[in-house]
């Protein structure tokens, strides 16, 4: 199992992907890899999401494929069995913490949180990488900044309203391990097989990460 650092250190980007077209899966993953993005969160919002996770996991081992929008224990198990290397939920429930612990040596569970209590809950369940969701409506930049002092061991991936235009401020925070971006792999672009535009957006996001980190 790769460490969180190995997965996210290179580019600090989690592309949030909504995809139902199995034929677009490999070209999309290859587009991301060509831009230097070596992971992708495939949300369980479409009928074919699990099949697509399995296909990428099998055919492109250099891509770290994760699953998103995990709501239940059943979703978690399906995502793991399909070959997900990380599993992301929009929020936390006891059920998900429990299965996350059961599978702690097999797959990384990155729960979504948005309050200090939920952040403490995550830490108490042995988790030190969380998604902050939904970021922009919940003022995540200021909240994550404020949580750096009381909870220095916790690292965040703000997602939800984070875009190429506002990602830089998040990346400048010390307690960020990645930013979740849904706009670079917009569902309509994938559906239209417009990989050139996806590549352009990925390149732009990666260059923002590079300039921010090198500051």
């Amino acid at each position: 199992m790769k460490t969180m650092e190995q997965v996210f250190a290179t580019n600090k980007i989690v592309p949030v992907v909504v995809i139902n077209d199995v034929a677009a899966a490999i070209p999309l993953a290859e587009t991301l890899l060509s831009a230097g993005i070596n992971n992708m969160e495939i949300t369980l919002r479409t009928a074919n999401a699990l099949e697509i996770i399995a296909k990428i996991a099998k055919e492109l081992p250099e891509m770290v494929v994760g699953a998103g929008t995990i709501l239940t224990r059943e979703n978690f198990l399906q995502a793991y069995e399909a070959g997900s290397q990380y599993i992301i939920s929009p929020g936390v429930t006891e059920e998900l913490f429990t299965i996350g612990k059961e599978f702690a040596d097999k797959v990384r569970f990155i729960p979504g949180i948005c309050t200090p209590s939920q952040a403490m809950d995550a830490l108490n369940n042995g988790i030190n990488h969380v998604k902050f969701f939904p970021a922009e409506p919940y003022n995540a930049y200021n909240v994550i900044k404020a949580l750096a002092s009381p909870l220095p061991q916790l690292k965040f991936c703000p997602t939800g309203g984070v875009t190429i235009d506002n990602m830089q401020k998040y990346l400048e925070l010390p307690n960020i391990f990645a930013v979740g971006l849904s706009s670079i792999v917009e569902a309509k672009l994938t559906a239209a097989h417009d990989f050139a535009e996806i590549k352009r957006r990925c390149d732009e996001a990666v260059s923002i990460v590079k300039t921010t980190i090198n500051k």
């Binding site: 909504v18 919002r45 929008t69 709501l71 239940t72 939920s89 929009p90 929020g91 936390v92 429930t93 059920e95 979504g112 949180i113 948005c114 309050t115 939920q118 969701f133 939904p134 922009e136 409506p137 919940y138 939800g160 309203g161 849904s182």
Partner: protein, 218 residues
């Protein structure tokens, strides 16, 4: 039992009202009906609130009554026994979910929530229509847009700070089943027994809603 969408109808407007004296119940309900609204949410403040719910449910068949502001299981059970067809809470507790399940065939429960974790909790217990509260002060509009993608099953009645100026943007969202408006029959109008103004405000809300719904169909 009618679905919650059927109760809220196409207008999706739910006036939230305090009905603490017997003689105003019928005139307030008639004022709303005359303005084109056939739903009312009574705030649970006292035994008088429950008496109002009972009265509306048994004597005024043209209007569907619900209860807002339930805090505990006792409040839930009392409201549903009084005849409330929908019941909303500002937040959630395990006992509220339990109480709601025992009255599953009598009243719809709209648990109050804001956060993804709470939405997941409600969905896992089979509650798909929720009360987003307090909406306006916590970026409810942006939250709802995000939740439409993350939780396509979840629908929301939106409460807290909704008024004539901001209701349209909420009604335009597909995951909104209703907006709660306290300004249609607020405490000042009730104290002044100004029923004609309540009718005017109800008409205004209905008109705004009609425009939003027509634009959506385009």
């Amino acid at each position: 039992m009618r679905t919650i969408e059927q109760i809220f109808g196409q207008k999706k407007i739910v006036p939230t009202v305090s009905l603490e004296s017997q003689e105003i119940i019928e005139p307030v309900c008639n004022a709303l009906l005359n303005g084109g609204i056939n739903v009312i949410a009574v705030r649970l403040l006292s035994a008088k609130s429950l008496a109002a719910v009972e009265y509306i449910n048994s004597k005024l068949p043209d209007i569907t009554v619900g209860v807002a502001g339930i805090m505990d299981a006792a409040g839930f059970l009392n409201a549903s026994i009084a005849g409330a067809k929908f019941i909303s809470s500002p937040g959630i507790t395990p006992e509220l979910f339990t109480a709601a399940r025992t009255r599953y065939n009598d009243a719809h429960f709209l648990p109050g929530m804001l956060m993804p974790s709470h939405i997941m909790d409600a969905l896992s217990r089979g509650f798909e229509v929720m009360n987003l509260f307090p909406a306006e002060v916590l970026n409810g509009y942006e939250l709802l847009k995000t939740y439409a993608h993350t939780f396509p099953k979840a629908k929301f009645a939106v409460n807290g700070g909704i008024n004539f100026e901001n209701m349209e943007k909420y009604l335009a969202l597909d995951n909104v089943v209703a907006v709660g408006l306290s300004s249609i029959a607020d405490s000042k109008l009730i104290a002044a027994k100004n029923y004609s103004e309540m009718t005017e405000r109800a008409k205004k809300a209905v008109k705004l809603s009609d425009i939003v719904m027509q634009n959506k169909l385009r």
